[in-house]
Symmetry: C2
Subunit: 311 residues, 2 copies
């Protein structure tokens, strides 16, 4: 993947996404001692950065492929993103969701015309059901993060941020499956000469931290984190990019995540989901090292169940 690929990707998806605002906060600057620039993907269409990657992945398909639709298995933001991106582009999206997925998530997918197929709540069932739809409908399977086109799409958030604020010295992003941090790291490596990329990851699902230590993919035995968007492990496409371009991963505990989330809600008056608070939590955990630095943080999304808040 090259700088030209990323620029082309941005040009292609622009008509279908929002250029999200960059917010600053005097109070959070005081608290952190640094100069913070929040790239607000919680204001992105459907409420998360995933809209970027899903749109780009669909746009790369041939007309023949587009006519047969796309399929994925997800109970989270990628299901909504793929449904809305497909709807915007006039094609079909088949979404495999576990039968125990919250009704609010199913409703959101249905509102964007996603065709839901329910399956038993195991990873094997999800994969098999998706494969069946691929065969029956001829639909193209799109992976939520382990896909070069998706990674490029996610990288356009950092691209926009660096275009507006070229002097940013550090870029923080959350690490789940690695699509966002890999795209962010590519954008920084292409369009900035001195921007260090740092990942934030919950201690409870720290496979990426361990993978950077061991040099190979690691698994998470459990996923007991409030940051429900970060439970997936790295993939074999995201990991090499992260290994090459991400300098370090800072792990945070659950209390730090919740307290960073509350800080953003109370001080910045914006709604973000728990996963989205992880980069700020990581920064605050080690704030002494980042004093007076110019720091970009990707606020990844704002889809949260108001009836089930962690504070």
């Amino acid at each position: 993947m090259t700088a030209q690929d990323l620029t082309d990707c941005h040009k292609k998806i622009k008509p279908y996404i929002h250029k999200t605002p960059v917010l600053t906060s005097r109070l959070l600057n005081q608290i952190s001692g640094a100069e913070l620039y929040f790239k607000c993907e919680n204001f992105q269409r459907m409420g998360a950065f995933k809209m970027r990657g899903a749109t780009h992945a669909i746009l790369q398909l041939s007309d023949e492929q587009k006519s047969k639709g796309v399929v994925t298995h997800s109970s989270g933001n990628f299901a909504q993103a793929l449904s809305l991106a497909a709807q915007s582009l006039g094609i079909k999206a088949y979404i495999v969701m576990p039968s125990n997925a919250p009704q609010v998530k199913k409703d959101a997918v249905a509102a964007y015309d996603g065709q839901i197929t329910e399956c038993p709540p195991t990873h094997k069932d999800r994969e098999e059901t998706a494969k069946k739809i691929q065969q029956e409908k001829g639909a193209t399977f799109l992976h939520p993060y382990n896909d070069s086109q998706v990674i490029l799409g996610q990288g356009t958030a950092a691209l926009e941020l660096l275009e507006d604020y070229p002097n940013i010295e550090y870029l923080f992003a959350p690490v789940g499956g690695g699509g966002l941090i890999a795209g962010t790291a590519l954008a920084a490596s292409f369009f900035s000469s001195n921007c260090t990329v740092i990942g934030g990851e919950p201690f409870e699902v720290d496979d990426a931290y361990r993978a950077l230590q061991s040099g190979r993919l690691e698994i998470n035995e459990t996923t007991n984190t409030v940051a429900d968007g970060l439970k997936m492990p790295l993939g074999d496409i995201t990991f090499p990019i992260i290994k090459k371009h991400v300098s370090e991963i800072i792990r945070v505990d659950e209390k730090e995540i919740i307290s960073a989330m509350q800080l953003i809600w109370e001080r910045m008056k914006i709604v973000i989901e728990p996963s989205c608070a992880v980069p700020l939590a990581a920064l605050l955990r080690e704030k002494e090292r980042f004093k007076r630095k110019k720091i970009g943080l990707i606020l990844s999304g704002g889809n949260v169940d108001l009836g089930n808040l962690p504070f």
Copy 2:
């Protein structure tokens, strides 16, 4: 009060306030059938429009008065606004708060260097305590809303909105003591030839609605509303302005307020307080009348207790 007064006020307070953003939402336009422009005073300094009026009221004082400080009694946003405005201008703010005010409100005032004096939780005690401070310290009493300088300050939110969107046909604002809606109505009468101003008020504290019917100030027997910023009755300075310049008041029930609040949180991803949702609730209650109209809504504030949400 003249157009020149309002322009002068805006010029004076500009260095101390944020020019807040105006947000739009495709989804809320779809739901309402109208074209909505949200003036986001929840992003104002200290989290509410009250910062505008408090700053203006202090700036109008003589140097002699400023040297002795200001005093008010309030347990809400005006206490915080006066404290922060006074702090910004290097003068003292004495805040009388009822002993049963939530700790979070006391902390907020203290964080802005407001000097808190507690008193028993009756209106009489609040007034007497404030009077005592006036006498002892020579501080100037400032009323949260029944004050021309405060009203002009609050009107600058609508002024900014109409400067950016001169074609707005309706302006909605919440009605409590009347400072914000009076200022909004003055701004519309000065700077727009065809903008109708409409108030939103909870059924549970509908003194303004009744006052417009009867032609005189009315009282609220009870104040059982989730919109805690709208419990105060109109004053003898706000009422005549409202009578002259506000075309109507639409009342809403508690369910409508909570559901409008939830809609803004979920769809726009911003944190607003319950009072702030009342104008949207009023618009949605009668949305058939406003189809395809260009409508400005003043989102008044975002100071909400996250541990005590109504949903």
